[in-house]
Each structure stands twice: as structure tokens, then as C-alpha cells.
């Protein structure tokens, strides 16, 4: 509802609806709750990256004439009503080949990727910690963030080990929350004033274990990123601000490499000296505090990545972290597990001219 009010629209304007599969019957349950009768629905499920996929699918549906005002929503209460991962009606074929080894939750899986990254590229725990330090620096300016205290690299390294090499402070928060995005036809946008931002490009990709051939050093961002950049007609150098999915510090670090913001394997070196800190770092990121400090609604951070990118383009981020003259922003989502199978989605948005 907040997103519609922000856009100057109402539920009656919505004719396309997008959500994940976590609430009841997905769009069937949610359109009933919202009182919608959309002519187009999509419940593509790629975990925490779903909502960045949905933005692309909404833009495509609008371009195809299937709808004009698309509403994307997500929400969940994993903190107040912890349920773990929802049990699927039918176990996936891979489940027994992972849970049998005590692979529960996602920290051990991301830890496997972090360990291999360290082995191949010499990435250090202190470099991973720099990602958390930047997020915490930003979170101190966000009154809604769960964790608002700045932290040091030493504090990250001294926090308890959860699953080697990931410490507790390498992990995102578990929070209640949600978010919504409205994507509209250009003819609708022109009546909504200059607070709209423009979808310039979007890409998505899946990466899986590939018949035992899994390579843990990269993510599906190596495909979703170039697709988004090509569609937008821009390069990583052009981007002023990034929202990068940060379920763990390693999640963000690998994505930064895979999206082309630094050479492959150099992510640790790239982030270690404050590159991610707004407003003047080389690549200001997650100025709301990200998943590491602000929130991770429903264990899925994709929608909040888009929302903070829009704030930056509008110049509505906190003054201490607002990137000057922010014209081009990127929001990147990672769903599932970079330690096994995952979905990446990359969105490039620009300030309305």
C-alpha cells in the first residue's frame, strides 16, 4: 500500500501482480488479501532474487501490453514466527543428498563458497569483514536498521565462528519485514511526476551444481550482469550506486567481482580499504545498511535492494550516505545458495531525466 501511495496510485489502478511462492498459493492468496483482480500474474520463485526478476518480468509484460500498472510485493516474519525453510510438498531431488550431511540452513553452504574463494584467490577474513564494516557504517544513519552500531574488522573477526570461515558478523540479520515496488507503463509514469525512476536493463540467470561440476568461485551474476548491462547500454564504470545482495559478506564480495566492478578474484583487495563506503567510496553500496545490518525480510533481501537504489536516484537517502549526482544505480539479487544452486538477478535503473 505504501508503494502505491508513494507512486500516487491506488489498488484500483493495479492490473498486474507479482509475488513469490511463500504465502499460501502465491498470487491466488495474495490477490484475494489485497482485493485485486489483475489481468496478469507472475510468481516466479528464485529465492531472495525473485523480486528483481519480477521487475524485469513486469517491464516485459507492460511492454507486451499485458498490463499497465504492476505491483510487486513480498513480506515475511521469520523473526517473530520462525519456521525455517518451508517444507515443499514434494522433496526436491537433491534434498537427501545434502540434508543427510547436516546441511541445514544456508550458512554452511555459503561457507563452502567462501572457503574455496579464499583458497583460489587468497581472499582473507579481514577482507570479508570490510563488507560488514561498510554496511554497519551506513546503518548508523538508518533509524529503522536492526543493527545501528558501527563495527570494526577486529569485531567481525572476534565474533563467534558459525561455519568456517564465516563468523556471526559475516551473516545477515534475521528480520521481519517486507516491501513493494510499482512498475508502470511510460504513459502512466508521465502523470506521476519526476520521482519515477526508469528501468534501463534487467538480467537473470540460474546456476546449479551442473551434474557434479559445480565451481564455487563464481555466481550466476556472471550471466545476469552482462545481460542487464547490455540491455541498459552501460558498463560497470557508469554506475554511481549499487545495492548488492548481502546475505553474507561473501555473497556481496563474489557478486561485485562477477558483475565486473573489479577483476575476478580481486574482490577482497577491492573492498578492503573502504571502496563500499558512501558517499565517496569507489563503489558506494547498501546505504540502508543492507541485509547485514538493516533487514532481511522473510530471509529474502531482493526487494529492499531495489528500494534503496530508488532512494539514491531520487536523492532521498540519508544525507550522510547520499551519493552526489546519483544518476545510475544497480540492484543485484542472489537467491538460493551460492554453495549449490542459485538464481541471480540484476537491475539497472536510472534517474528520470
Amino acid at each position: 500500500m505504501g508503494a502505491l501511495v508513494d507512486a500516487g496510485l491506488t489498488l484500483a489502478d493495479v492490473d498486474g501482480y507479482f509475488c513469490d511462492s511463500t504465502a499460501g498459493f502465491g498470487p491466488i492468496s495474495m490477490t484475494e488479501y489485497l482485493g485485486l483482480k489483475p489481468r496478469y500474474v507472475d510468481s516466479t520463485e528464485t529465492g531472495g532474487s525473485s523480486y528483481i526478476v519480477h521487475v524485469g518480468h513486469a517491464a516485459a509484460a507492460i511492454a507486451a501490453g499485458k498490463c499497465r500498472v504492476a505491483l510487486i510485493t513480498m513480506a515475511g516474519r521469520p523473526r517473530s514466527a520462525p519456521q525455517g525453510m518451508p517444507a515443499p510438498a514434494e522433496p526436491s531431488p537433491e534434498t537427501t543428498f545434502e540434508e543427510t550431511w547436516g546441511m541445514f540452513g544456508i550458512a554452511p553452504a555459503y561457507a563452502l563458497a567462501a572457503q574455496r574463494h579464499m583458497y583460489e584467490y587468497g581472499t582473507t577474513s579481514a577482507q570479508l569483514a570490510a563488507v560488514k564494516v561498510a554496511a554497519a557504517h551506513h546503518a548508523q544513519y538508518n533509524p529503522n536498521a536492526m543493527l545501528r552500531d558501527p563495527v570494526t574488522v577486529e569485531q567481525v573477526l572476534e565474533s563467534p565462528m558459525v561455519s568456517d570461515p564465516l563468523h556471526r558478523l559475516d551473516c545477515c540479520v534475521v528480520s521481519d519485514g517486507g516491501g513493494a515496488i510499482v512498475v508502470v507503463h511510460p504513459s502512466v509514469a508521465k502523470d506521476l511526476g519526476d520521482r519515477c525512476v526508469t528501468v534501463l536493463g534487467q538480467g537473470e540467470a540460474i546456476k546449479h551444481t551442473d551434474n557434479g561440476g559445480i565451481d564455487l568461485t563464481y555466481t550466476a551474476a556472471v550471466e545476469s550482469g552482462p545481460r542487464a548491462f547490455a540491455e541498459a547500454g552501460v558498463t560497470p564504470k557508469d554506475i554511481d550506486y549499487v545495492s548488492i545482495y548481502d546475505s553474507f559478506t561473501i555473497t556481496a564480495l563474489v557478486a561485485i567481482e562477477d558483475l565486473g566492478f573489479c577483476p575476478k578474484g580481486k574482490g577482497g583487495k577491492f573492498v578492503q580499504d573502504g571502496a563500499l563506503q558512501a558517499p565517496h567510496g569507489a563503489l558506494p553500496f547498501n546505504t540502508d545498511g543492507g541485509g547485514l545490518c538493516n533487514n532481511h525480510p522473510s530471509n529474502r533481501g531482493g526487494v529492499t535492494k531495489v528500494i534503496e537504489a530508488v532512494r539514491q536516484l531520487r536523492g532521498e537517502a540519508h544525507p550522510e550516505v547520499q551519493v552526489p549526482d546519483c544518476e545510475l544505480a544497480l540492484a543485484h539479487g542472489t537467491g538460493g545458495s551460492i554453495g549449490s544452486r542459485m538464481g541471480s538477478a540484476t537491475l539497472i535503473v536510472g534517474r528520470s531525466s
Binding site: P91, P93, E94, T95, T96, F97, E98, E99, T100, W101, G102, M103, F104, P108, A111, L112, A113, Q115, R116, Y119, P160, M161, V162, S163, D164, P165, L166, T209, N211, G212, G213, I214, L216, S340
Partner: protein, 143 residues
Amino acid sequence: MSAASLPVPAPTLTEETRPFWEGLKQSRFLLPRCNGCAAWIWYPRGFCPACGSLDTAWQEASGRGRIYSYTVVRKSGLPGWSEAVPYVIAYVELDEGPRVMSNIVACDPDALTIGSPVRVVMPVGDDGQALFRFQPDGGPPAQ
């Protein structure tokens, strides 16, 4: 840490995976292999995801490999596993090629290194089900 200290849960069997789990009960590490393109198939399934062939056969694998990556799980809230921490989850790159997820047992978790050789062990649970895990292997990898 020993294999006995980790739970031996009963795997979920399907028609596609039954021969794999039944093989472990006979101390045989059987993997499906494609008769079309010769790819080893992991995890087991009834066709070849590399080339799409339906012509596959079960073949005994060496049970040897090297650690591709590992993590030491320090914290677990789950019955059976919370008592077993710290335990090791790893991807083992089999000599045949596939990288398979499993546990490394009978080891000092803090002394493991990526690339070190391991060999399969097949612990049996209370209900007769058998699993596969790996332990450090001092000898050279099987040819």
C-alpha cells in the same frame, strides 16, 4: 570426531536413486554413468543431464577423491546434529570427476586442507541404512 558421532539418517529413496543407496549397504559405491557420452552422473538420476541420454548404467566408483571445499559447522540447533558439532561438510571431487557433498569424518577439523586426499567410508545406521562419508586418505589416489 568419528563417523559414529554423526547421525546416520535414513535417506529418502526414489526409483531413480534406490540402487545407489542399496549399493552402499553392500559396501559398493555405485554411480550411474552414461553409456552415450560416458559422463558420470551426480546426484544419481535416471538419465544423463550432460547429454540427455536415457541409456545409463550403474558402475562402481573408486571411492577416492580430494577435498574441493569444506566448512566446519560450529553451531546447529537440530537434534542429533547439535551434539555432533563441530562437524565437517565438504565437497569432495571424486577421482571420476563429480564434486559430491558429504562429511569428512575421523579427522581433526582444524587440520583439514583443500586438495587433501580422502576415501569413502560407508557407515551403517540402526535401521540398516547405509550412507557414504569420507575420511583422510594417506595413500596416493587410486588410478
